[in-house]
């Protein structure tokens, strides 16, 4: 990928914020100029969610029951599908190596890349999820909880996935390997995310699940960019 956005400012002293902003705008510009990739992920998300009613039968009660879980699983798979693009392209053409030489601290621009990845993949899924929820016959409150849970959960997926895709850089059969690494780590997010909407649907309070998702997001934000940095350093050694 040639640098679509402005080249990295060659200031002597880098900073976390400047690195974050630079990588964020660069990756976002790149994904806006190639909207196909992000749209493919969204199309996959909608397609898989459409397959379930065809597979399990169109009974409205059953669909309302499994709806939140199915939408979460679809979001999980879609988030996973977009992971290889996060670092692999930049790794293949050497851009990643050049970035590590930049004056900005590494966690800054890595966090920026992860944030851009979320805006390009997690956010569209979150925005689209009420539409799918309507197909499954979820009521308004459950839809609201579903969106809130996805809003809290999908960034965690991007963060976890970023660390895993950085680990799998340059590995043999990295696609299947990435599934093996990332999907088990996604499990807690899936449990609490789907649990929030299900609790709402059962007229229970979804706040415990949402709080746990939020706590998970905070922990992931604190730790995983650094883990991803370490993984990139290992890959570039």
């Amino acid at each position: 990928m040639n640098a679509a956005a402005a080249p990295m400012p060659a200031a002597a002293g880098g900073s976390f914020g400047a690195g974050f902003a630079w990588a964020f705008s660069r990756d976002l510009t790149l994904s806006l100029r190639h909207p196909g990739e992000a749209l493919l992920v969204v199309a996959f998300f909608v397609l898989v969610a459409t397959l379930f009613p065809l597979g399990v039968g169109a009974d409205p009660q059953l669909l309302a029951r499994i709806g939140p879980g199915v939408i979460w699983v679809c979001a999980l798979l879609a988030a996973f599908l977009s992971l290889p693009g996060l670092f692999a392209g930049d790794y293949a053409d050497g851009t990643l190596e050049q970035m590590t030489l930049s004056p900005h601290p590494m966690p800054g621009w890595v966090a920026g890349k992860i944030a851009a990845h979320w805006v390009a993949s997690g956010l569209p899924l979150t925005v689209l999820s009420p539409l799918l929820g309507l197909q499954y016959g979820l009521d308004a409150q459950t839809l609201g909880t579903l969106v809130l849970a996805l809003l809290l959960g999908t960034p965690t997926l991007s963060l976890l996935g970023a660390a895993c895709s950085a680990l799998a850089l340059g590995a043999r059969g990295s696609g299947v390997l990435l599934a093996l690494l990332a999907l088990p780590l996604f499990v807690p997010v899936l449990i609490f995310g789907a649990g929030a909407a299900e609790a709402q649907a059962a007229s229970l309070s979804p706040t415990p699940h949402l709080s746990l998702l939020g706590a998970g997001l905070i922990l992931a934000t604190m730790g995983l960019p650094f883990a991803a940095c370490t993984a990139i350093r290992i890959a570039l050694d």
Binding site: R172, S174, P184, A231
Partner: protein, 239 residues
């Protein structure tokens, strides 16, 4: 004596070769004693009948599955921070044993669950998190072996082991945090709610599994050392 003397693969190779039979012997003796007291001495459980005897395999295997992961992650941390080769080899050597114990814990749990809960498998927090642990082990082994450069695989897998460490407290405390079907712990440092013969059988089996894990990890580490160092002088002079 210099402690770091054995951190070199060539010296550790000899040490491991000398130690491994002792660990296997301890595992065998305590295993026989544990089986005997578990299946013959220990009384029948008042509520669960004879079925409960599976715990003499199940509980030690489940403990070892978590403990082995912890030790593996510690070796991973050592190998990442000090860039040592032997620690990474030990981490690799432990992974298959840990995966085996995890599988045994899940398998024996299923056999215990069928007569007791009426189902081989329930989607309960402890079972699910133990299953995730199995996938973490498999992911560790897959990642470690998917690079041309073995050292690269060592480092990546070590980092993965450290990330996956988050799962351990979830497994351990799952029976307290969630209202699960899986029963709580019967053994703690404060005392036990078990018959003393049962406790002894379990502790003996625990010791046996532990010794087996050490012994088999040492043997596996020896083969990894031979594989890695096959081009060195000292390995060639072995034959």
């Amino acid at each position: 004596m210099n402690f770091y003397y054995f951190s070199s693969p060539s010296t550790f190779y000899r040490l491991a070769g000398k130690l491994a039979p002792w660990f296997f012997a301890l595992a065998l003796v305590s295993g026989i004693a544990g089986m005997y007291s578990g299946f013959v001495v220990a009384p029948t459980d008042a509520q669960q009948g004879e079925v409960y005897r599976v715990i003499f395999i199940h509980v030690p295997a489940a403990w070892m599955s978590m403990f082995t992961y912890f030790v593996m992650a510690c070796y991973g941390a050592v190998s990442l921070t000090f860039n040592t080769r032997l620690a990474a080899m030990m981490a690799r050597a432990l992974a298959p044993t840990g995966a085996m114990f995890t599988f045994v814990a899940l398998w024996t749990g299923a056999f215990w669950g069928r007569p007791t809960w009426g189902a081989y498998w329930v989607w309960d927090a402890r079972l699910t998190s133990e299953l995730v642990l199995l996938f973490l082990y498999i992911g560790f082994m897959a990642l470690a072996n998917s690079f041309e450069d073995a050292r690269r695989g060592d480092r990546a897998a070590a980092l993965l082991a450290l990330i996956g460490l988050v799962n351990l407290p979830i497994i351990y405390f799952s029976v307290q945090w969630w209202n699960t079907l899986h029963q709580g712990s019967s053994v703690s440092f404060k005392g036990t709610s078990m018959h003393v013969a049962m406790l002894w059988a379990m502790l003996l089996m625990m010791f046996s599994f532990w010794m087996y894990a050490i012994g088999v990890a040492l043997v596996r580490c020896r083969t990894i050392i031979l594989e890695r160092e096959r081009r060195t002088q000292w390995v060639r002079s072995l034959t």
